[in-house]
């Protein structure tokens, strides 16, 4: 379980997070919605300990991430995978090496690595591209390789940082279908940050709205029409999901 308690973060004079509170239960898939520049990625980076908050706690399975030493943080991160907005593939490595890297770090045998990489590429529908470099891939393929790298270590928590941004509608939809498929894998808790309202409703059990530095509403995706806050209703209207 992930519990975010009263999280604050500023960069210089700019206050980005102003007391975020959120609980994500095991096996739950939640999408954090918000406009560009609202601090969605900043929020997600706190969950995995890439950023330290000015105030507040991030409790993962009973452990406060903000108080861990670097060594313990690396240990904890082995339960996580993070899908970056720009895929963040290592451009000096082939697709195979990119996906194999987390397994090498964990000391898997070469045979096990090979079979897991093949399985991950099969899941994202990209078999046969093992020897290509990231520069040889399209934007959508890069994102799918990023997803393959994220799932290859079979994490407990999958964090997605705007995985469909910058993609055409069809490719974005394919990625959303893939995210839904991955989220439904046994034992995975998915946290997606996005401004794509339709993708959020399709992939996640719950949606939460981050607005002006705080989470103002959390509702079940299938009951989206019961949204109370005008900001979330506006989001739903923008996606054509509520009447204007």
């Amino acid at each position: 379980m992930i519990e975010i308690i009263d999280l604050y973060k500023s960069f210089g004079d700019k206050e980005v997070l102003k007391g975020v509170n959120l609980t994500i239960k095991d096996g739950e898939d939640i999408a954090i919605l918000g406009k560009s520049g609202e601090g969605k990625s900043v929020f997600l980076k706190h969950v995995i300990g890439l950023l330290k908050p000015d105030k507040g706690s991030v409790i993962v399975d009973g452990v406060d991430v903000t108080k861990l030493s670097k060594r313990d943080l690396y240990r904890l991160r082995k339960n996580f995978s993070y899908v970056f907005q720009g895929a963040a593939l290592f451009d000096s490595m082939t697709v195979y090496e990119n996906i194999a890297l987390p397994l090498r770090e964990r000391g898997f045998s070469e045979n096990e690595i090979k079979s897991r990489v093949e399985e991950a590429l099969y899941l994202v529908d990209l078999e046969g591209i093992e020897n290509l470099y990231p520069a040889e891939l399209s934007g959508g393929m890069k994102k799918r390789v990023g997803l393959a790298r994220a799932i290859v270590s079979r994490p407990k928590y999958l964090l997605y940082d705007e995985p469909t941004t910058g993609l055409d509608v069809l490719t974005a939809w394919k990625i959303n279908k893939l995210i839904k498929k991955l989220n439904k894998m046994e034992g995975i808790t998915g946290v997606l940050v996005t401004h794509d309202i339709r993708g959020a409703l399709y992939t996640s059990d719950k949606i939460a709205l981050l607005n002006n530095g705080v989470i103002i509403e959390v509702i079940e995706s299938k009951r989206y029409f019961e949204a109370k806050s005008p900001e979330l209703r506006e989001f739903l209207e923008s996606g054509g999901l509520l009447g204007q």
């Binding site: 670097k70 690396y74 970056f84 290592f90 000096s92 987390p102 770090e105």
Partner: protein, 250 residues
């Protein structure tokens, strides 16, 4: 003014933190085999041609200009000795370091800076991989190991180039040239230069990696990091050269 001082202090603090984390990550040295070999190749093997070419010219011009300076008050038989000493103690390590600072230092800063702004360093961290151990430690070790080897090559090529020019241009036979070197050779000449090269290799790798690792503000930031890496690496090489010169030969 205060802002500049603040930025300088912050940069120095970050650099020393990076060094400390690199030292701590030595306990996981077994996990860096692959990046370490890649860095050995990048730092050393790919510098061979440039270092050899530059050193040959350094050796050749040293012969011509040393002959010009000593011709009126010392026998030209001592030319080999003079050139060899200046190459081993000073020119070999310093010229090699400046070439490497330009080639390798810029490459390291640009690569790490690009990795930083494209979130590849964050990606390593999220995979539970210590980015300092994976990226900085192999570069520091490669710098410390490859620099003395490059300097040995540079010394050899420079002295050979000098011998050829002395024979062709100044009519000094090889036997005379090399007997001068043998007669006045002191091990400290060579080993002092090699000690300098270890320090230079460390400085170039450390300064360049540090600027790249902490690069920000997109492509412009990578450009700034690359320029500063070369500038400060070269500057610190020359400063360290003076300090080590005083300690070793003063």
């Amino acid at each position: 003014m205060f802002r500049l001082l603040y930025l300088a202090a912050k940069g120095t603090g970050q650099a020393f933190l990076l060094l400390w984390e690199s030292i701590l990550s030595i306990r996981e040295i077994g996990k860096i085999k692959r990046p370490f070999v890649e860095q050995l190749e990048f730092f050393g093997v790919r510098s061979l041609f440039l270092v050899s070419l530059a050193s040959s010219f350094v050796g050749m011009v040293s012969s011509v200009q040393t002959a010009y300076q000593i011709r009126d008050y010392a026998p030209l038989d001592l030319l080999g000795m003079g050139v060899a000493k200046v190459v081993m103690m000073e020119l070999g390590p310093v010229i090699t370091a400046l070439i490497v600072a330009g080639r390798v230092g810029a490459g390291m800063a640009a690569e790490l800076g690009t990795m930083r702004i494209t979130e590849q360093i964050d990606a390593l961290e999220t995979l539970g991989i210590n980015s300092v151990r994976h990226l900085i430690l192999p570069r520091l070790l490669a710098g410390i190991i490859m620099m003395p080897l490059l300097v040995v090559l540079a010394d050899f090529v420079a002295i050979a180039g000098s011998a050829v020019v002395s024979a062709v241009y100044l009519d000094i036979p090889f036997s005379t040239f090399f007997s001068g070197i043998r007669t006045y050779f002191y091990p400290i000449d060579l080993f002092g230069g090699l000690l300098k090269s270890v320090v230079f290799g460390f400085l170039i790798a450390f300064i360049s990696s540090s600027f790249g690792y902490y690069a920000k503000e997109g492509a412009k930031g990578v450009g700034i990091a690359t320029t500063q890496a070369v500038m400060y690496s070269s500057l610190f090489v020359l400063m360290a050269d003076y300090i080590l010169g005083v300690i070793l030969y003063g």
